[in-house]
Each structure stands twice: as C-alpha cells, then as structure tokens.
C-alpha cells in the first residue's frame, strides 16, 4: 500500500518517530516554559539535565540494580534536587540583574556538566535495555508499533496534561500564576515566593530528567544527547511562544510530527525544518503562535 508514492510502512514509521521526538520536545519545552514563567530565565542547562536523567537511570541500574520503573520515579526527584541546589546557590543571586546573565550562567553550567560526563564516558552511547514489560510490539495492520514507543507517547501526554492541569486548574497553580504576574504582591499575601521559585525550578528540571529516563532505551545514554536537542527545543519555544502551557505542549508534538513528515518527503531538510518554521513564524507572528508579546 502506498500514499503519495510512499509505502505506508515507511510513512507511519516516520510519523511514529516524529511523535516520539515530539514527546520529548513537548516535555522539554514545557519545563522551559514553567521555569521561564516564574524565574524569567531561559534554562540553558535543560539539555544537560535531560542527559543527567538518562545517566541517573543508567547508574541506578548498573550500580544499585534498580530497574526502569523505579528509575522513572527516583530520577526526576534526584536530578530535581540537584537543580534546586543550583538554584539556591547560584541562580538566586542573579534575579536582580539582567535576565541574560541567567542564560550565561546556565550555559556555563551546561558546559561543565556535559564536559565532565564526556571526559568520563566518551561520546559513544551506552545502551540501556528496554524494560521487559514493554518489550515486543503490536502489528496494527498498517504498521508495527513497538510497545515501548507507544508507552513513551502515552506517558508524556499524561505528564504534560497533568502539568497543565496543575498549573491552570489547582490552587497551587493559581499561586504560581499569580507569582508570575506580580511576585511582590503574592509575597505580601504571605506566600513564600523564594521557596516557590526554588520548587518551580526543581519541577522544571525534574521534567527534563523524566524525559531523559524515557529517552534512555530509545536513544542510548550519551553525554551529548541533550546538547543539540536543546537548541531545537529553543526553536520550538520561539515558535510556540512561552505565554501558554498548552501552547508549548501542542507545539512540541506538532513540530515532532512535521519533522517526521519531512523525513519522508524531503529528508535533506529534516534537520533544518524546525528552524525554517521558526523563521516563518517570526515573520508572520513574532510573539510566537501562542505567545503574547511582553
């Protein structure tokens, strides 16, 4: 069977890869958006923290014999706590300065973290075995769907929607949105804003680490796995605009799909298509598809 001269197996296969990439774009840009909302900094360390998530899962498995499912729960917590320490010790000193200093600091941290891991583990990936429960797959008739990939898409949709629900629909999220608008006023109401900032940063980092654990069985564990990815995620963020949580989720998945389609129809452009879309969006709607200029 063929569609537009492309075998359906290949078409749906690439679409699946696109959806998987989209899951990671969504999780990572969501974390960036949550952090940016409250801290007003772009977390350049995000890619390194995603990588740390994958390595943490690998360490848990090889050093402590803790498997995938526990790693999925423990890793975001561990990397998130490291993130909170970084926020308290370093980022907290920069809030009164130009926001660009936050970008420079987190860029430096990313260089340090990625450099240290690369010195220790080189640049060739380390395989991480699929969890046994999710080995194998289903034949859907038009394509073969590996169970693990279905799980990644499902889990990231659930986590993204849960994050959206927490921020937009709960009391905690209301505090968060209020602090984004006017931190002084929220502080005056007796809410500990500095602690909220720390926890928010930790949460954003935990999302990156969660994505890292999920990526480990697919992409292998590699010290530089987040280095180039984060630049693509920045473009995703510019396209979506950071004004809305749902915006970053939708943009992430949509761009993953578009990238997958490009691989089928014009593979030469698959690396650059997201950047080209960014350029077009900047020409038409500079604030981003879901953003508000501020």
């Amino acid at each position: 069977m063929e569609i537009f001269g492309i075998p359906t197996q290949a078409l749906f296969g690439q679409l699946l890869i696109g959806l998987i990439n989209g899951s990671f774009y969504a999780l990572l840009s969501l974390g960036l958006a949550v952090i940016f909302g409250l801290l007003n900094i772009i977390n350049f360390t995000h890619g390194a923290q995603y990588m740390m998530g994958a390595f943490c899962a690998y360490f848990l498995l090889t050093k402590l014999g803790i498997g995938y499912w526990w790693a999925l729960a423990v890793t975001p917590l561990a990397v998130g706590i490291i993130g909170m320490v970084i926020e308290r010790l370093m980022l907290a000193r920069l809030y009164k300065l130009d926001h660009l200093y936050g970008l420079l600091l987190t860029f430096g941290l990313a260089l340090i973290i990625q450099g240290l891991f690369r010195n220790e583990y080189g640049t060739s990936g380390i395989p991480y075995a699929l969890p046994q429960e999710l080995a194998g797959g289903h034949n859907l008739g038009f394509m073969f769907l590996p169970n693990y990939r279905a799980w990644v898409i499902l889990a990231s949709i659930v986590v993204c929607l849960a994050t959206w629900f927490m921020i937009e629909k709960t009391r905690l999220g209301a505090y968060l949105r209020a602090a984004t608008e006017n931190p002084q006023l929220v502080q005056a109401f007796g809410i500990n804003v500095p602690r909220m900032i720390t926890l928010t940063y930790g949460f954003g980092v935990a999302l990156a680490a969660f994505a890292g654990v999920m990526a480990a069985p697919i992409y292998q564990v590699n010290p530089l796995m987040g280095a180039d990815l984060i630049i693509v995620v920045f473009a995703v963020v510019v396209i979506g605009g950071m004004g809305s949580i749902m915006g970053s989720i939708v943009t992430g998945f949509a761009l993953g799909l578009i990238e997958g389609l490009t691989k089928v129809f014009y593979p030469e452009a698959s690396n650059t298509v997201i950047f080209i879309i960014m350029a077009i969006v900047l020409m038409i709607k500079p604030a981003g598809l879901f953003g508000t200029q501020r």
Partner: protein, 319 residues
Amino acid sequence: MSAVHELAPRAGGFAHQRIAAAVMIAFFALAPLVAYPVFLMKVMCFALFACAFNLLIGYGGLLSFGHAMFLGTAGYASAHAAKAWGFPPEFAILFGTACSALLGFVTGLLAIRRQGIYFAMITLALAQMVYFFYLQAPFTGGEDGIQAVPRGKVFGLLDLNNVWGMYMLVFAVFVGGFLLIHRAVHSPFGQVLKAIRENEARALSLGYDVNRYKLLAYVLSATLAGLAGATKVLVFELASLTDVHWTMSGEVVLMVLLGGLGTVFGPVVGALIIISMENYLAQIGSWVTVVQGVIFVICVLTFRRGVIGELGRLIGKPL
C-alpha cells in the same frame, strides 16, 4: 545589561584610550619577536571576532548566541573562492566578508523582531540551521572541511606563504577592523545605538527608526565577524565545521564576558586569555570545555565587569 551601562565609553576620544590603543597596537607589532606568530595571528582573528560581537552586546544591548555562523560562512566562502575559483587573497577575503554581511542582513531581519532572551535563542537556532546547511552542502567537504586553502599574494605583491607577509595582513585587518568599530561607536550612529539600548521606547518616540539602527548594527557586527573568519581561514589554510558550531558562538561570548562586556579593549584581552589558555593547556585536552564552563560561572557570579572593566574601575576611567 546593567554592568555595561556604567562602563560604556562616553562620546569623544579619551587620552587614556588613545594610549591604551597605542599600547595594544605596539604589543601586536612587537610580540612576534618573542612569541609564535601563528598563535598571535589566531589571537588577532579572534580579537576582531570578539570586538564585532561586543559591538552588538556592548552598544546595542543584543546578546547574539549565533555569531559562529558569520565566522564560518565567511570562512567557507573565502576558502571556496580561493581554492575552487582561484581568487587572489584580497578578493577571497572580500567575497567571504560580503557573504557574511548578506547572511547578517537576512538573519538580522528575523532576529531583531524579538529582544533579550528571545534574541539569543533565535540567533542560536538560526546559526544551528546554518550549521546543518554546511554539514550537508557538497562544497564544504563535510567533516573534513576545505583543506589546503591557497594563500597566494595580496595585490600580487605581498606573499602570504611567507609567515611575515601573512602576519602583516592579519595585523592590518585587525587594526583596521578595530579602528572601524571605534569610529562607528563614537559616530552619531553609535550615539543613537546607545540611546536605543538605554531606552528603546524613548528613542522611538524621538523619531529614530529603531529597527533600522538595530539591523545596521547587526549587519556591521556580522560583516566584521566575517572579516575575522575569512582572514582566519587564510592563516590556517582550513575552513571547517568547528567555526560554525554553537560551541564557537559560546566561545566568543566567553571571551567578551571575561574581557569585559561593553569595554573597548575587553574583547581583545578576553580573546588573548582564552586562546592562550587553549594553546598552553592543550595537554588537558577535553577538560578545556569544563574550564570554559567554570570561567563562565565565575564571571557571571562574581566578575561581571571582566578584566578590563575591573581595570577601568581601578583607574577610574573607562577602557
């Protein structure tokens, strides 16, 4: 950036800045007597690159995280012109620089639509797109780059295969570029640029076409970065992917941050320190990235004025 504002040089030349400029020029004129000339040429190329970057952040308040695309584009263009088309070096450099200027114009139109953090992210993303283009384009030689770029003779007279001929060219390009930036910053154009950085809305209300000035600064910065890249290619006879990679964009940010954002001489000193570090610490190999990261963190947390900024504060005059 707040630290930049206090230290940005005022209009008109200061006597001490002239003295400092004379010291710097004398340094690069005499240093090859004691130091390795190729090392000094590398420093001058990167110093010009850093000065071009500083023009944008120091006077325009725009942090570009994609300046490697201009360094690399000019490098590939001039290498291709010299090797495949047999251009003499002066035209190869001119052609490479013009290509970067054009790229600066196109990317500038997009990037100046947003400010601050977004500007940084957009320039980074655009530079990554340019990187992938060169990775796939057939004429760049992919991972190998363009090797054995012929140096030739400038105007048919100055033989660049002689190390001193090459040194004279790099020296002239560096000093010329430096003085051009100095001139631009102290011209009415530079004054308007500073006004925009301080208060964009006010400059707009005074009738200045803000976007046109920003674009002009961006293109000028791209052009000079390209000039540095084209010259560097002739020095090393090699154009490679290293020059367009995002790590190079980060490196130039580091040079300027360490030397002093918005200072006149900071980028030169920053380039000298970073290139020396890379040269003399070559045995630590892959640790260079870690060391660079540590310098970033220390600069941002405790040393935001940079070397020259602190020095200027000590003597009470902007340098």
